[in-house]
Amino acid sequence: MLACAVKLEYKGFVQNNPEVYAGSRTIFSKGNKLGIVQKVNSCRMKGVVLVLPPFAYYQPETLAEAVNLLAELPEPKKVLAGGTDILPAMRKGELTAEHLVSLQRLTELSQIELWDGNVRIGALVTFRELATSPLIQKACNLLAEAAASVGGPQVRNQGTIGGNIVNASPAGDLLPPLFALEAQVRVCRRGGERILPLSEFLLGMGKTLILPEEILTGVIFPALPERAAGSFVKLGRRNSLAISRISMAAVITRTPDGDIEDARLVLGASAPRPVRAPAAEALLRGKYPGPALLEQVVASIAETVAAILGDRPSAPYKRVAVKGVARQALLKVVPEFGQWN
């Protein structure tokens, strides 16, 4: 009935108002009686309201209650954390959930702790909390840098690390640093839990190994040792409120003499999920940092990216732009890359 009313509304309105097409979102696809693709800006005009589809909402008080609930509810069901990705996706019809289980009351998932040399971060920790946590800034600064680069302050107050992982966007900004830190994820369901490397869990393009009845409860990884440092650099279309066009996370461990002992370089937003650059990592191992080595490594990273991108439309831009991103990330983590001896 709504669809019918919408068509009648549009009949006179759309034909006389070509600017209606100028908006950003398709709410009906081709094939309606008017034979046009209708796009509107906010989906609110002439009484047309794009609302969230109906669903049943649950707010369990404990993790045990939440996993029990998820085990019993029929599909389609979805777990709600910050909601910054899920809500727009549900309004656009890209994601359906008849049962929505909110994690909001599970304060046990909001902790950041250092335990036995490992950093443990609960799934509900927000980008703001990551960006401002002294523990994160000290133990894994690159994760704080990445969290501070997400969206704007409003999104950082609301969005969570768990959501960033499960949403599995190719441009998810926490993913390259978590890959570089070799993080593992903890996933719980009724009667069990599993811990597996993020690099196995994350399939990319919105897909992970999570089951509908499971909750990602947190991530865990070793804190960076004294002799290691990390960085994250992101290139977007603007400085704030931008989705990464390309990004890089670097973790470099050095020997007491200053040589590079180990390097982990991870590229974001260039493939369905973050990718390591093993050739560039090998070039760094055992060498002392300097400008000549930097340029060799940057060229190697650009080759890796060119191979991944193939002839995608963004390739000519990204295979050049990645050089700047890589140079910045490496200089930030090891200033000697810029110093001639």
Partner: protein, 162 residues
């Protein structure tokens, strides 16, 4: 669809409603409570026009499911003026000429309030970061930054506080 109870403190006043769960905080504020100072721009967290303070922190009310805001403190632009007098941040925006079409203004002012509550003497960079989640297509931001500087001075009682 089963309704849920929405009980919160909005602009220091208690609110107790039964709502359908598929409503955004933005919808409840504007449609159920008539607080239309909160604007809907993009509807997907890119513009900041719908900014409100949730427990003192700015969030996009278009990205907050209304039941998730239950039990919390919410401040909208309507909550700033007291006893018929504008809040010093609102005064500063008018005096500095930081308002043109006005659509971004409620969100900008709430982002500024969250900043000044936390950091009463922000530098230019802190101000720019604080409003980096709010788009303005009229002013070019220069006068908004100037207004927030002026508001900080007013709140510190250095000038204009009468």
């Amino acid at each position: 669809m089963k309704t849920v109870r929405f009980k919160a403190t909005i602009n220091n006043r208690p609110v107790d409603l039964l709502i359908a769960p598929n409503r955004r905080l933005l919808d409840v504020l504007r449609e159920d409570l008539g607080l239309t100072g909160t604007k809907e721009g993009c509807g997907e967290g890119e513009c900041g026009a719908c900014t409100v303070l949730l427990d003192g922190r700015p969030v996009n009310s278009c990205l907050v499911l209304a039941p998730e805001a239950s039990g919390r403190q919410i401040t909208t632009i309507e909550g700033l003026a007291a006893d018929g007098r504008l809040h010093p941040i609102q005064e500063a925006f008018l005096e500095a000429g930081a308002v043109q079409c006005g659509f971004c203004t409620p969100g900008m002012i709430l982002a500024a309030k969250a900043l000044l509550d936390e950091n009463p003497r922000p530098d230019g960079q802190a101000i720019k970061t604080a409003i980096s989640g709010n788009l303005c297509r009229c002013t070019g931001y220069v006068k908004i930054v100037a207004a927030i500087r002026l508001a900080a001075a007013k709140l510190a009682g250095e000038e204009g506080a009468r």
